[in-house]
Symmetry: D2
Subunit: 133 residues, 4 copies
């Protein structure tokens, strides 16, 4: 299964060249991951951040085509790997049948002190159907 996150390109995303300023793509990616955790894993960031966090340990992106103001992106998220304390994800953003960017990231579930800790069992369970190794 794939988590699908629609993302309209807004004014605040765009730069003087009239296209998305690339750090804003990472804000969109974070919004997508945040929605995935809340809607699909029933583990919202507001709950996680009471005494933990889900920092990104690695991220790698290829930007294939620019995105313009007003375009409607679709971001698709799959889980590529589920470790004891980490999660590999792959995202692909497309618009009009064209891939705009592809990202692979590794997230880590950490305690308040920043130490990796095991994913809760119910989270592991819910991740399963998005897992596409």
């Amino acid at each position: 299964m794939t988590f699908v996150f629609p993302q309209k390109i807004l004014f605040r995303h765009c730069d003087p060249a009239g296209i998305v300023f690339y750090p804003r793509f990472f804000e969109m990616i974070n919004d997508c991951v945040e929605a995935f955790f809340e809607r699909e894993l029933a583990f919202p960031f507001s709950e996680i951040h009471r005494d933990g966090a889900v920092p990104t340990a690695e991220t790698s992106t290829t930007f294939l085509a620019p995105c313009r103001l007003g375009e409607e992106l679709t971001i698709e998220l799959q889980v590529t790997n589920l470790g004891r304390t980490s999660m590999g994800i792959a995202l692909r953003a497309e618009c009009g049948g064209e891939t705009r960017f592809e990202t692979k990231s590794t997230l880590v579930f950490v305690s308040e002190k920043g130490r990796p800790q095991p994913w809760p069992e119910q989270v592991r369970h819910k991740v399963d159907r998005f897992l596409n190794r």
Copy 2:
């Protein structure tokens, strides 16, 4: 040679976990690249963006340790490759002798229409001493 860019961790960079929200690192990286083009290549973004742009085509980052409010990072930039229309760069951010993140990116010099175009000769010339293949 290495281009050195000091970057203090400011309030606007930090998240509820008290550490830098990772999309802000890409804003810092962009600021570093922008300063490098202006100060070392004499090719400021305000000039480039009259009829061109320098989009990032690929970027890959490993975050090794979190950064906290008030810390003073040093970001070092080297050029790893200079193509006809592209430039590979490597950045390393450190604080207190500890590497916090490492990034590799590929930039492309494009025309107003988004087509790759050759770097100006004087830019190629100035890049040379930062080139560390």
Copy 3:
């Protein structure tokens, strides 16, 4: 009539104090205005910015209570004044029956050169029912 814009408080909005970093409220306000122009005035920013803009000339905000990660704000927008080239708007954000902030802004419709220009007639017409002097 009132334009209603739901806005969930996301991770990227929040600061080390665990509440919304106030410049992010202005991003939300801009998103709300952008949606109002597109959905209600049929004058999307992507069309406006082909050869014009809608800069904010004045803005004044009172923050009555902080907003926290995961809260669901409702932002209500009314038009308080419609000049030949300007528009006064009032926004109120509430959550759980409590007002969180109130803003008054003046927008100006300008040409590519930044000169004020008259609102298109069909925009004036559509604004009418949101006008609450």
Copy 4:
């Protein structure tokens, strides 16, 4: 006395109209206030946020002229009022002898629980010479 904060207009500040996107001005204002607290009041945000915060309660801005990529702003900050738990500030940003924006804000010093608390005596003392009622 006036606290002077130089601010170059960077790529990340600018929008598709080629001018500063106004929420970025509030990031600049926050950077200026943060520098003022650290450099002049010896009360850095990293210390304040261990168990408190300095939220903005009110802010009001007039934008007089747009700012463009590459311009070098000078932001001047004065304290207009010092209450027991609040501080009124006035900022003016100029470039080339022209005022670009003027802001008045009220900050409040609060405890971890968000309750207003008195400014430390040494802070009151240091604020004095920036006080211009």
